[in-house]
Symmetry: none
Subunit: 143 residues, 2 copies
DNA sequence: CGCCTTATTGCAAATACTTGCAATAAGCAG
DNA sequence: CTGCTTATTGCAAGTATTTGCAATAAGGCG
């Protein structure tokens, strides 16, 4: 399952999968809606009163940075967060041979971050598709 | 001139062009860089000590909503703002309102370089189009 | 110009979010 | 399972941002 895959990869990168992080991620993953930090805090602390609001904020920041959450500015006084389903389905489509390559999140996330940063535009990760010429076709063209 | 045009249009929509708003807009327009709320406050209050920080925040929100400023979340503890000059070339297409924004080369060039380097894929710069939600629709989506 | 309506401001208080630091616990090695 | 290293947490205090409300002033009208 993709979810587990991501999570385990993160552990290998030296991040720790704490109870708090899992609780928050699971909540957002099972909830279909955006949630604000304090809604999340309220939900989680219902069953785990020991959790701290500062931890919620820090965890949300972290989950956003590693690409598991989207951060949404709805123009109100708070930010909202939602689980980033299918965060890595991007494609490079070759105009010559039609081949489609998948590319990893990191590159696209960098682009998305740039765009959000500079234009306030939240690019939809499900529709990123770049056209061009793949490595093989480029090589072939050179003879 | 586009700037004046915009501004006058706003007045017709019932907004008031106050000294505070003009000062802040001019500052950002003449400054090439991003600025945080308190940097702006510091600058403006230098010559206009009567200005209030809350007003700065409210004005920034307003300028952002009417599309004259971009709001930039650089992942630090504060938000930054920059004047929304007309950019060039590629497009960001809003799935909500259909609006097309042009984005500048720099961002795309960075992406292209990344992709060429990591995938040997030469992305065609003329066909970059990203779908998503524009700043205004994101702000408007007040649910 | 002077009056009127009401959007906007300034102030102060409230709320949202971040951070320093000591204590805790995840994950690895033995 | 046990001990060690250090990422992460909780707490409390700090900083950033928003908001209610009375006072001010922009812009329209005569």
């Amino acid at each position: 399952m993709r979810h587990h895959h991501d999570i385990q990869a993160l552990r290998k990168q030296g991040f720790r999968l704490t109870r708090q992080r899992m609780l928050i991620l699971e909540l957002l993953r099972s909830s279909e809606r955006h949630m604000t930090a304090d809604q999340i805090y309220a939900e989680v602390s219902q069953h785990h009163p020991e959790i701290n609001l500062a931890t919620v904020y820090r965890t949300l920041q972290w989950l956003h940075q590693v690409g598991l959450l989207r951060k949404i500015d709805v123009g109100k006084d708070r930010l909202e967060y939602e689980y980033a389903h299918d965060a890595e389905h991007h494609h490079l489509i070759c105009k010559v041979c039609g081949d489609q390559t998948q590319i990893d999140n990191h590159v696209i996330q960098t682009l998305q971050a740039h765009i959000l940063e500079h234009y306030g535009f939240e690019a939809d990760p499900d529709h990123v598709a770049l056209f061009g010429r793949c490595a093989q076709c480029r090589a072939a063209e050179t003879e």
